[in-house]
């Protein structure tokens, strides 16, 4: 019967899979890539995934604003920081980084569209001439729970470039999390762009941007266009006139792991080794 033979075939498949990968008998051929890798640094994760791991720089743990250049207008109450009358920049500077930040909307909600719970997290903001603050790369923070606005301006949007893939917003009063991977743009000496900025964003555990390529800075007034800036710049939190609350903010620098070719890719069987593409030598090996 067909269904039975299918089952037999399936079973054989499982057995082969199990033998092929599980047992790896001594006479199995092993592929050796020939890359010498540095040992990955050992990091102790937070007790909960939202807690700062051992290599994180904590920007706010509920106590004070000492990691920020603050003008006294932001308040810390009950372990939460509340938006003041200016935007806030970190003292430290970052390039490629992973950021965890938790935020909560004013409850009950007030206002509509962009005028409800508006703030933002800015990558690489900096001052240029005339003390004009250039915000650079914004991930929108907004109360997008049951509050419609232009889609590329709702919570988790890359502002005026792309809406999030989905709207994973929690209600006002509840806590939202952003886990962000930001890859800074690269510029040549002469200022031309070598590589754009990329962002991956997880909102409340849900992927909403996957390695999104930014077209340039995110401005209210101007189309995105890259212009050369430093490799490391602060992070910023926006004041947009709404009492958005923040807690548990930490950053990890992203350091790629780079291997070096140490030998040609080889195959091994017992004591025998030979280059990939060559014929297996005769005999039992050394």
């Amino acid at each position: 019967m067909p269904s039975r033979s299918n089952n037999v075939g399936l079973m054989c498949g499982f057995v082969l899979l199990a033998i092929g990968i599980r047992a790896q008998p001594l006479d199995a051929v092993e592929y050796l890539p020939g890359i010498a890798w540095p040992e990955p640094a050992v990091i102790t994760p937070g007790e909960n995934n939202a807690d700062a791991p051992s290599d994180a720089i904590v920007l706010f743990d509920g106590k004070d604003l000492s990691a920020w250049n603050d003008d006294g207008s932001w308040q810390v109450e009950n372990g939460v920081m509340i938006v003041g009358t200016t935007s806030l920049l970190t003292k430290r500077k970052f390039g490629d980084c992973q950021v965890h930040v938790e935020w909560s909307m004013p409850n009950p909600p007030r206002g509509n569209g962009q005028d409800r719970g508006n703030s933002g997290i800015f990558f690489m903001p900096h001052y240029e001439e005339a003390r004009q603050l250039y915000w650079k790369y914004e991930i929108q923070i907004l109360d997008s729970y049951d509050n419609r606005t232009y889609f590329d301006g709702q919570a988790a949007a890359v502002y005026k470039q792309s809406p999030p893939l989905v709207n994973a917003m929690r209600r006002p009063g509840q806590w939202n999390t952003y886990d962000i991977v930001f890859i800074a743009p690269r510029f040549a000496e002469d200022g031309t762009l070598n590589s754009p900025a990329y962002v991956t964003l997880v909102h409340n555990g849900v992927l909403v941007h996957n390695h999104y390529e930014m077209s340039g800075p995110t401005s209210w007034t101007a189309p995105p266009a890259y212009s050369k800036h430093a490799e490391r710049l602060p992070l910023g939190l926006q004041n947009h006139g709404h009492k958005v609350r923040f807690r548990n903010i930490w950053v990890r620098e992203i350091t790629p792991i780079v291997g070096e070719p140490a030998s040609a890719p080889m195959l091994r069987k017992g004591n025998k080794r030979w280059p990939v593409g060559a014929k297996e030598p005769a005999g039992a090996g050394e």
Binding site: F14, A18, I21, R22, E30, Y31, P33, W37, E39, P40, V42, T44, P45, G46, N49, A50, D51, P53, D55, T85, Q98, R148, F151, D152, Q154, K160, Q161, S162, P163, P164, L165, V166, N167, A168, T177, D179, V181, T200, V202, N204, G205, V206, L207, N210, H211, E213, S215, S219, T221, A222, P223, A225, H240, G241, R252, I254, T255, G259, L267, V276
Partner: protein, 279 residues
């Protein structure tokens, strides 16, 4: 003071705030001219590790009915133990987000690749290694979080045996042309216990033990599978979300809107040629 006077003050104060924001932003607003579909509303899990409303739950502690060969893996107290043979998901996935929790056997037994070995195979072909890499050295491109024999994880975040590890994986499948040739490789981003370990890593191909990685054309959607490597690695809370791109359409050229009089003009008049693109 009268209520209305206080109200007037409040409005005045509010308008100062708004004015200061507007003055920073000037009057002309950039309008990209892209028409986007509305992002679908997804209710996140109560905890971030719990399945959001659009997830396909593959194991919630009850049974492995969503898996081929699920009967071969014992379940005790809501936990599945690696048993005989791979388990292979019945649903198939292309680009997806996978959440999976695993715990290495305790007490730790064996060394190197023989300690708490299993693996999550995207599309049944591309392995992110599961191994007890807590205080257990092996080849780095074979430790927990490695793309097997292609790259180590950027850092080692493995929790001690008996504790629960989480993988959050963002998978971009490879693309093949009609002629079977690779048109776009697979990419993976992975977060291990809240820590980024792989960022948009470009896979060289599949991840076998016995030969170099290679791409061979396959279906757009395939099951995920979990490896039996002879160690009773434990699993719980497995769910997958399909990743659908959000595609905008150009509705007009980029414009500037003057909010003082409501007029618009092409942004190119002020900024020259615009290279903003919708992605």
């Amino acid at each position: 003071m009268s209520f209305s006077f206080r109200l007037t003050n409040a409005i005045a104060a509010a308008s100062i705030v708004l004015t200061s924001i507007e003055s920073i932003m000037a009057n002309e607003e950039y309008l990209p001219g892209i028409k986007w579909p509305e992002p679908q509303i997804v209710t996140p899990g109560e905890q971030n590790s719990q399945p959001p409303s659009d997830a396909v739950v593959l194991f919630d502690g009850k049974d492995l009915s969503q898996w081929e060969n699920g009967d071969a893996w014992p379940i005790k107290d809501g936990i599945a133990y690696a048993g005989k043979g791979f388990i292979i998901s019945k649903p198939k996935f292309g680009d997806c987000q996978v959440h999976l929790e695993w715990s290495a056997p305790t007490p730790a037994e064996g060394k190197g690749q023989q300690r708490g070995n299993s693996g999550l195979f995207l599309m049944g072909k591309y392995e992110i290694q599961i191994l007890d890499s807590y205080d257990n050295k092996t080849y780095f491109d074979g430790q927990a979080g490695a793309i097997y024999k292609q790259t180590p994880p950027m850092v080692n975040v493995t929790r001690p045996p008996g504790e629960w590890n989480t993988y959050d994986v963002f998978w971009t499948r490879p693309r093949f042309g009609d002629d079977g040739k690779l048109t776009s490789p697979a990419y993976i981003t992975a977060i291990h216990n809240g820590v980024l370990i792989l960022n948009h890593f470009e896979l060289q191909g599949d991840t076998p033990y016995s030969r170099p990685p290679a791409y061979e054309a396959h279906e757009d959607r395939r099951p995920i599978s979990i490896q039996d490597h002879g160690n009773p690695v434990r699993f719980r809370n497995i769910w997958v979300r399909e990743i659908q791109p959000l595609v905008g359409e150009r509705a007009s050229e980029p414009m500037l809107k003057d909010h003082s009089n409501g007029t618009t003009r092409p942004a190119s008049e002020k900024y020259g040629e615009i290279n903003a693109v919708s992605k």
